[in-house]
Structures are given as structure tokens and as C-alpha cells.
């Protein structure tokens, strides 16, 4: 056999032998992972008559309780003493704050009217207001950690540890505060349907250049406005209505696809050994529904309202580690794509906020029995889908 064929033969033999060995001893060396056992529950059917009977048997006791009260006429005085002690503690704290405000805020009112009057006057001067001096950097974080109790000045505690009586505004997005989201297509004045109010039939042509004045220059003529160009005939109006249903369908499809994206070999090859320095334990895989729930709970908190145009053209993938109670404890940017680093950085910040807010507002829907699986998650935030077009 010629030497040049020997190499091919050897490679072929190696390959075949490898496959044969794999077939013969593969199962023995690497036992297949047993699929999770199916949980079987025995269910017994109950007729409606039996159900009613069971309910009737279970409810009678509470029904009898209201009958049982032994209304002594006397207990009524009891509530009266109760309110009495509660106001008592209230006056106690009050005396403390009262002296506090006295020293500080009272002098300012004398300055107040002066400042207000000065500021209201519109200047006839054409000079720009003086520029502030060069900015001075303040110690970025001189503030004590919130766990440290701040020793109050004489005036008042710096920060209260407990909520005050001030009403706390809960801020769910409402129709009033959330602009109508049209999905991919930004609803602007230009692509809204025209109404009778905004519609028109003719507009004047923009002036390409000023009108040449009358041949004999006249100062008086200069004071009059150039004649307006006559309205031009209008052509067909093309309006691009936003199809809300189609947009919603597209979002739903995208969300569904997001939930079903499997772990791909591409991902593994892109970030081969970067697992956040952790040995990733294997657990039962998350189902498509579970991943979809996680995706949508984060998406509801992923706010791009203050994102730059560059951030809106970026994608970031972050690796998030969770503690067993579902608290996000570590974030790592592992992949990114976008026109500028600033845009990527800002998108990363929005992504972190989204996860933190989702955790803050009731937590992420992480199945407790699959902690080994979701202990570390790769979350892909693709803002391109939300880019205004």
C-alpha cells in the first residue's frame, strides 16, 4: 500500500474504533441520566351531592358562632379606654420634634420674597447669565450605610428607620402615567390617524428663499411681511396606522420564542469556561412555561423609557446568580452588542434594575425545587426589538 493511503486508513481506523468503543462501553462508563420520576397522584371523583354534603358538614360551626355571643352591655366602655392610651404615646414623640425645627428653618422666609421677585423678572440684558464655576467633585459616597444608625443632630433624625404616617405612593404603571406603547412602531403625531381637528386639505409651500422685494426699494416695504405663497393642491394622504393587534401578536410570539430558547452549543462555545467561577450543578431543566414566566416577570420591570438611542440599539446578556430564596446576588455582563460602549453600559444598568425590581415586587417565579437549575441564569436583554422605527 502506498504511504499516502496509509494515513487515511489509520484515521479511518481510529474513527471507526472510537465509535465501536463508544457503542460497546459508553453506556457502562457514562450512565444515562435518569429522567425525573413522574409524580403520580390518585384522584377520586366526588359527586356534587357528596360535595355539598361535605361542605355542609364543614361549615356549620362558624355559622353558630355569631349566634353564641354573650353580649354583656358593659364591654362597650372597654373600647373607650383603648383609644385613650394610644394618643398618649403620640404626644410623647411630638415634643421632641417641635423644638427641632425651631432653630433652623425660620430665618429663610425673610429671604424668600426677595429671591422670588428677583427671579421672576425677565432680563432685558442680552448677556447670558454668568457661568457657574467649574464643577467640584463631592465625595461620592460619604453617606453611612443605612444599617448604621445615624446619630441625629439636635434638629431631627437624619433618616427615619420606620415609615412615617406620610402616605406611601404605590406606583404601579397606570394608563395615566404610561404612554401608550405601540410596540415596535412608535406612535407619533405623524403616524396617528388624522381627525377632523388636525386634518387639512392644503398647506402652503415652504419658502425656499425670501421673496424679492419690489424693484424700487422702499423702507416701508421692508416693514411688511412678504406675501404668502398660495396654497398648493394636496396629493393623496398616506397615513400609517399602527396595528395594535398585530404588534401584540408579534410581542407574544417573541415572548413565546424567548421562553423556548434552549441552551445552544453556540452559547457554550462563545463563553466556554465563564461560569462565574462556579461549578454549575445540574438539576431538572426549567420548562418552557417556567422560563416564559421568568422572562415576562422581568420584562414587566424592564423600563426603557429613559434609555438612549444607542442603548435602544444594543443587546446585553447578563449572568445572574441567585441565592436559594431567589434574591439576585451577583450580576456579570457576559455578552454585548451595540453601537457604543456607553449605550451598552446603560442598557446593562436597565437590565440590572429590571431583575432587582422584579425581585423587589414579589420575586421572580423561580420553582423552588429546581434551585440547582436556576442558581445561575443567563438573561438576554435585546433592546433592538423595542427600537423606534
Amino acid at each position: 500500500m502506498e504511504r499516502r493511503f496509509q494515513t487515511g486508513t489509520v484515521v479511518s481506523a481510529v474513527g471507526h474504533l472510537g465509535v465501536i468503543l463508544w457503542v460497546l462501553v459508553g453506556d457502562w462508563l457514562f450512565a444515562a441520566v435518569k429522567p425525573p420520576e413522574t409524580i403520580v397522584m390518585t384522584v377520586s371523583t366526588v359527586t356534587s351531592a357528596e360535595f355539598d354534603a361535605l361542605q355542609a358538614a364543614a361549615t356549620p360551626t362558624p355559622a353558630k358562632e355569631p349566634v353564641r355571643p354573650q353580649p354583656k352591655p358593659e364591654p362597650k366602655p372597654e373600647p373607650k379606654p383603648e383609644p385613650v392610651p394610644t394618643p398618649e404615646p403620640v404626644p410623647d414623640p411630638l415634643p421632641d420634634p417641635v423644638p427641632d425645627p425651631v432653630p433652623t428653618p425660620e430665618p429663610p422666609p425673610s429671604d424668600a420674597p426677595q429671591a422670588a421677585e428677583e427671579q421672576a423678572i425677565q432680563s432685558d440684558s442680552t448677556e447670558i447669565q454668568p457661568a457657574p464655576e467649574a464643577e467640584k467633585i463631592i465625595a461620592p459616597d460619604p453617606v453611612q450605610p443605612e444599617t448604621v444608625v445615624t446619630t441625629a443632630d439636635v434638629a431631627a433624625p437624619a433618616v427615619s428607620d420606620q415609615p412615617t404616617d406620610a402616605p406611601v405612593e404605590t406606583l404601579p404603571p397606570t394608563d395615566a402615567t404610561v404612554p401608550k406603547d405601540t410596540g415596535d412602531v412608535t406612535l407619533t403625531e405623524a403616524n396617528q390617524d388624522q381627525t377632523a381637528e388636525t386634518g387639512m386639505t392644503t398647506s402652503i409651500r415652504p419658502k425656499s428663499r425670501p421673496e424679492r422685494p419690489a424693484p424700487a426699494p422702499d423702507v416701508a416695504a421692508a416693514e411688511t411681511q412678504p406675501a404668502e405663497t398660495p396654497p398648493q393642491d394636496s396629493a393623496q394622504l398616506t397615513v400609517q396606522p399602527v396595528d395594535d393587534a398585530a404588534t401584540q401578536d408579534a410581542i407574544d410570539a417573541l415572548l413565546g420564542a424567548a421562553a423556548e430558547v434552549p441552551v445552544t452549543e453556540d452559547v457554550a462555545s462563545d463563553t466556554p469556561a465563564d461560569t462565574g467561577g462556579q461549578d454549575l450543578p445540574q438539576g431538572p431543566p426549567l420548562t418552557g412555561g417556567e422560563m416564559g414566566n421568568i422572562s415576562s416577570s422581568i420584562a414587566r420591570k424592564w423600563n426603557l423609557g429613559a434609555a438612549s438611542t444607542d442603548a435602544m440599539s444594543s443587546t446585553v446578556t447578563i449572568r445572574v446568580s441567585f441565592s436559594q430564596d431567589g434574591t439576585p446576588i451577583d450580576f456579570k455582563l457576559i455578552e454585548s452588542d451595540g453601537p457604543t460602549q456607553t449605550g451598552i453600559d446603560k442598557l446593562y444598568e436597565t437590565a440590572q434594575r429590571a431583575v432587582n425590581r422584579a425581585h423587589q415586587d414579589g420575586g421572580l417565579p423561580l420553582p423552588p425545587d429546581k434551585y440547582d437549575t436556576w442558581q445561575v441564569l443567563d438573561l438576554v436583554f435585546d433592546a433592538n426589538g423595542m427600537r423606534a422605527r
Partner: protein
């Protein structure tokens, strides 16, 4: 003979084992966390909390007014929603005191801005910090102090807002800027016009000219210290240069029998590009302000006008009706034929290159309506942002994110006013002015 064969066989077996083990272990080593795509988001203003700045001595109403301007600037972008103080759980009483982040999380504030103001004589000092509430720390670079005279307090407030806006969004700020515009008065057919400047938000209006002659199309120089505009002072339109501080002005090009109009500075401020009409034909010219040298950039029997430099000074975008209708063209800064970049239906005019260089804003007339729109510099991705009876003359904010323009209502009593819109088409709003106003031009960010 046998020995080489054994040797070959051993090699083959070793390779086969290695291959087998490699195939088996590869998937285990490549084990990755589950990958979840977040495919949708909400677009809503970010909730922030800006408690009234603390008076650290003599500040009086300044503390409250500066807080108000900061909030107004931020909310005016449409990006933020301030959470009123009545909802605050923690009361900030000391600038360097502790911050109970849990209290701010509880009211869903994502960013907290604290500040303090002190006044001594006519000197005022403003300092602030912006906190990322969920991360529980100060945002990088968002702990600064400004000092100046008390009559510059509004600028300080704008600067504070600029820093906060920039740190959160990643865009440059634009609050500490001015706008020059044409203030109008009188009936529509005999309108009096004069130049005026104001803060970007309509405050601090000051008039630069009287109303004895018509003025049009003012433009700031790149440094913001000069203005070029079209004046009818001599009876003919003439481009005129004005020094903003002294109000000194001079006509730039006075060839008999010509009209000059639509001037705009080059990015280095040394030259002015404009239109010159001679014998019924308008072309674009470049004037060197230092030497007075004039060079012709276009030579066409059609009307070429409204030139605007690219930020790097290498190209000029302009409008021309050489195709029979107004369209937008781009040519090298040294002149030339130009390449048409607008391709849609209707007429396009008043193109303006974004200071970031990524978009060109324009006025479009189509189907009886006017639009302000933007397109990429090659004409792609055209997007119309507004629609009305008459919208025209867009001007870019220094950060290239916001446009201001003139809107005129229909009818004999129609009025002009100034409006602004985000380049996404959101946050369309009117700029408050004392009366009718038109032809706005944004200054660069002030130093």
C-alpha cells in the same frame, strides 16, 4: 515487522480512547446556565425622587426654586416622573446624612437626587448627589458641586439636571443651553419681527433687535457667542453677523442686485455658508469671515438653499428643486453636484445635520400636511415625527436627541409658536413664549 504493527495498533487504540473520552466529556464541560431572552419591555417614565434641596445657610427660596427647575428639566424630557414629596417616607434633612434606600425602594423610586444650597452675599453654591436606589450607591460621577453668582442660579439648576440626565440615560445633556428665535407681534399680514434669545425652556427672554426691520433664520455660532441671520434692514435680504454680548452687527455680503439668505456657520465658526440669489438663480456660497473670500459651491439653474454642514465639516446637506420638486442633497464641503438622499413622496426642505452626525432633520410637505422628520445621512430610515397644518425649520438640541421647530396654525388668525419633540416622536410639547415665535435655533451647550 510485528513490532511496528503493534506500535501502530497502540497508537490507534490510544487515539480512539482519546476521541471517545473527548466526545463523552465535551457536553459536560460546556454545560451552561439556562438562557432566557427578555423580548419585551415597558416604555414609561422612570420614577425618580428629588426632595427639595436643603438650605445650608441663606439659601431662602433658591433651594426650592433650584429643586423645581431640576425636576422641571428632567420631567420635561418625558424620560422621568418625579414622585411628589407627599409620598416620601424618608425626609432628607441632611445632605451628608444616611440614606434609607429601603424607604425609597418602597415608593418605587429608582433614582434619588439629594442636594443642598448655600448663599453667602451674592455667591451661591449648589451641590448634589444622585443615588441608584436599587444598587444602594451613588451613581458614578453624579456627586458634584457648582458655585457662582446668585443671578446664575438657573444655570446651576440646569447643570445639575444635565449631569443627572446624562448619567442615567447615557445621552449628553441639553438643559444649560439657549435658543435664539424670531419674536413676532402684530397681525398676520403685517407681522413685526425681532430677534430674541431665551433659555431652552422659555425662561430669561432677552431681545436682540428692535422691530423696525424684518429678521429671519437666526443661527448660533458653534461657540454660542455670535449669531448670523437674514435681515431686511436695507430693504433687501442680507445675511448679517451679530455679536451676542455687544449686539454689534454688520452685513456680511452686499453685492448690488443680489439677495443673501439662509446662513449657517461651519463647525469651526470661521466660515458661513449661505444662499445668494442673482438674476433669479440661487446658489450656495461659502464666505470666509476672516478674509472675506467668497467661493461658490453649487452652480445650477435651480434653487439651491438651506445649507447645513455635517459636524465634521466634510459635507453639506442642502435643498434643491433641480428635480422639479424640493429634495435634499448632500455634497462635499468644497462644493459639487451633490447626491440626492430624499426619495419619498412630497417635498423636502430645511435639512439640518444632527450634532451627533447620525441623522438629518428636515421639513416635509406631503398630501397637504407638513411634517418634521429625520432620516439617516444616506436618506434611509426616514421617520416622520409630527404632522400639522404647518411645521417647519427644525433645529437640533446640543445632544442630538431633541428637535425644536415652528408650528403655525391655519386661518387668518393663525399664530406661530415653538414646539419640541424627541427624535422618537414622543414628548411633543409647546415651548412657552410671551407671544408668537418662529425660526428657533438651538445654541451649543453653554460652557
Amino acid at each position: 515487522m510485528l513490532r511496528p504493527m503493534m506500535k501502530s495498533l497502540a497508537v490507534v487504540v490510544a487515539l480512539a480512547l482519546a476521541l471517545t473520552l473527548g466526545m463523552a466529556t465535551a457536553p459536560v464541560l460546556a454545560q451552561e446556565p439556562p438562557r432566557i431572552v427578555i423580548g419585551s419591555a415597558v416604555i414609561e417614565p422612570m420614577p425618580i425622587a428629588v426632595p427639595t434641596f436643603i438650605d445650608e445657610g441663606g439659601a431662602g427660596d433658591y433651594a426650592r426654586e433650584i429643586s423645581r427647575v431640576v425636576i422641571s428639566d428632567l420631567e420635561g424630557t418625558g424620560f422621568f416622573r418625579n414622585i411628589g414629596e407627599e409620598a416620601h417616607i424618608s425626609k432628607v434633612t441632611s445632605f451628608d446624612g444616611g440614606v434609607a434606600f429601603e424607604d425609597w425602594k418602597a415608593i418605587n423610586a429608582q433614582v434619588l437626587v439629594t442636594g443642598a444650597v448655600s448663599v453667602a452675599g451674592d455667591r451661591i453654591t449648589v451641590k448634589f448627589r444622585a443615588y441608584d436606589v436599587f444598587n444602594g450607591n451613588t451613581m458614578e460621577g453624579a456627586a458634584l458641586q457648582f458655585a457662582g453668582t446668585t443671578d446664575g442660579w438657573r444655570r446651576m439648576a440646569h447643570k445639575v439636571a444635565d449631569v443627572i440626565y446624562s448619567k442615567i440615560t447615557g445621552e449628553g445633556g441639553y438643559f444649560d443651553s439657549r435658543v435664539v428665535f424670531v419674536s413676532e407681534s402684530g397681525p398676520k399680514n403685517a407681522r413685526l419681527k425681532r430677534l430674541a434669545v431665551m433659555d431652552y425652556d422659555g425662561a430669561n427672554v432677552a431681545y436682540l433687535t428692535d422691530s423696525n426691520s424684518i429678521v429671519l433664520a437666526p443661527r448660533f455660532s458653534p461657540a454660542g457667542d455670535r449669531i448670523v441671520y437674514t435681515s431686511f434692514e436695507t430693504g433687501f435680504p442680507r445675511i448679517t453677523l451679530m455679536d451676542v454680548a455687544s449686539l454689534d452687527r454688520r452685513a456680511l455680503e452686499e453685492q448690488p442686485g443680489t439677495m443673501t439668505f439662509a446662513p449657517r456657520f461651519s463647525p469651526d465658526g470661521r466660515t458661513v455658508v449661505f444662499s445668494l440669489e442673482r438674476g433669479g438663480n440661487s446658489d450656495i456660497y461659502l464666505l470666509d469671515l476672516g478674509s472675506g473670500a467668497l467661493s461658490q459651491l453649487t452652480n445650477s439653474p435651480s434653487i439651491e438653499t438651506a445649507p447645513s454642514f455635517s459636524p465634521d465639516g466634510s459635507q453639506i446637506v442642502f435643498e434643491s428643486d433641480r428635480s422639479g420638486a424640493q429634495q435634499i442633497y448632500v455634497m462635499p464641503a468644497g462644493g459639487g453636484e451633490g447626491t440626492r438622499i430624499s426619495g419619498g413622496e412630497g417635498r423636502y426642505g430645511t435639512p439640518v445635520w444632527s450634532p451627533r452626525g447620525d441623522y438629518i432633520a428636515f421639513t416635509k410637505q406631503n398630501a397637504g400636511r407638513f411634517h418634521i422628520g429625520v432620516m439617516r445621512t444616506d436618506g434611509s430610515e426616514e421617520r416622520l415625527l409630527t404632522a400639522s397644518f404647518l411645521d417647519e425649520g427644525p433645529t437640533w438640541a446640543p445632544n442630538g436627541r431633541v428637535l425644536m421647530f415652528t408650528r403655525e396654525t391655519s386661518g387668518a388668525g393663525g399664530q406661530t409658536s415653538l414646539w419640541s419633540v424627541d427624535i422618537t416622536g414622543r414628548n411633543l410639547k409647546q415651548i412657552p413664549t410671551d407671544g408668537p415665535a418662529s425660526d428657533p435655533a438651538w445654541s451649543p451647550l453653554l460652557p
